[in-house]
């Protein structure tokens, strides 16, 4: 495959079967390898779509400053595009995110403003909104509310899945900005009768839920519950166990949010087997494991890894 530049090589990622983790020939699980994007995560898709939309709308011109709250991958994707297109990028990032993410951001030339660990990404969003109000000339793409985020999946991720696997019955992905689930979910629901759209939401350590009161919670503006069939909360322990199982059984070295999605995918597979129904379950490998090596997720016992991950934002 040949492309005009790195940016243009986004997407067209492989869909691979999991012969060892699939329960039977009738109930199969498939991994969409989004780590095969230019900066190594699914976020290359929404980042490119959001930047190009802002350019079309006349908001972004060379020399502009982009501001974005991000726990890492969106920032890394934006940093690569910003470098190639001549924008300055400032990322607001919770301080409890992995060192690799920070190094990668700096490497591509992004500036990082840290937000407090307590409250996780909620705080990053709050800090970024405050900065945007103080600097009206900065452009906040705002992945949580920018329709170009879900459209990137509606226009690229989802058509790729349906083309590679017309018999798809379930789609499972991690729930963060909700962009992947909203975009792929809408596309598949329009074309695949009865398709099930399943969200796997990371359940972090208590620090991340350390809000001052329940009214400080956050729901991304993009979220539309009617697109989903159901939604599971997956603990760090389950996500870690599945991340290691995927590596051991199928050789796929993925980040921890992938274990979260796989856990829900295996749950759906079990239900299909119990119901005696055929299933082709697609789940998203959002990124590879490289950025999480320093968290110790892949070493020692699961209990040790879980302790090391306590309080970290791993998705």
């Amino acid at each position: 495959m040949r492309f005009d530049s790195l940016i243009h090589s986004v997407g067209r990622t492989p869909l691979v079967g999991l012969p060892r983790l699939s329960p039977s020939d009738e109930v199969r699980i498939w991994a969409k390898l989004e780590d095969r994007n230019p900066t190594g995560s699914i976020k290359d898709r929404p980042a490119l779509w959001m930047i190009e939309q802002a350019e079309k709308d006349g908001l972004l011109r060379p020399g502009c400053t982009i501001l974005e709250p991000t726990s890492g991958n969106t920032g890394i994707s934006l940093a690569m595009s910003a470098r190639l297109k001549g924008y300055r990028l400032i990322c607001v990032m919770p301080e409890n995110t992995s060192e690799e993410r920070r190094q990668l951001l700096r490497m591509w030339g992004a500036e990082i403003i840290s937000s407090p660990a307590a409250g996780g990404s909620n705080e990053a969003v709050r800090v970024a909104k405050g900065l945007a109000a103080e600097h009206p000339d900065w452009i906040m793409l705002y992945q949580y509310g920018n329709p170009a985020n879900w459209r990137s999946h509606y226009e690229s991720t989802a058509p790729e899945i349906l083309e590679d696997l017309p018999t798809v019955t379930h789609f499972v992905a991690g729930l963060g900005t909700t962009g992947t689930l909203m975009g792929v979910g809408r596309f598949l629901r329009e074309r695949v009768p009865g398709v099930q759209i399943v969200a796997a939401e990371p359940r972090y350590g208590e620090l991340v839920y350390g809000l001052r009161n329940v009214d400080e919670g956050f729901i991304p503006e993009l979220y539309d519950a009617s697109v989903l069939t159901t939604r599971y909360s997956v603990t760090s322990a389950d996500a870690l166990a599945r991340t290691r199982e995927l590596l051991a059984a199928e050789g796929i070295f993925a980040g921890i949010s992938t274990g979260c999605a796989l856990h829900a995918a295996l749950g759906m597979a079990r239900k299909a087997v119990q119901a005696g129904e055929r299933a082709d379950i697609v789940f998203i490998v959002a990124d590879g494991g490289w950025k999480y090596l320093s968290t110790g997720a892949y070493e020692g016992t699961l209990g040790e890894a879980e302790d090391r991950l306590e309080g970290q934002l791993w998705a």
Binding site: S121, G174, G176, E201, Y209, N213, V214, E216, I219, S233
Partner: protein, 90 residues
Amino acid sequence: MAIEVRIPTILRTYTDGAKAVDASGGTLEELIGDLESRHPGLRARLVDEGKLRRFVNVYLNDEDVRFLGGLGTPVADGDTVTVLPAVAGG
């Protein structure tokens, strides 16, 4: 046997600091009613005008009750109910 209800940090002022408490009931609504009788004030933090509050997520055995039956979701002994505030990902 009872139903274990896991309480998030910000609501533990109502449970004397307990991370998890036991309660009983046939539906989530009854369960929350039973919780209220043991831990007064908790219900108003979870429910508003007959619905779960916007930024409160409740999971029955890890599945979001909004996709099951909301406050009418049946619950049974041995189940685990987890309450969490809605937070951002990404």
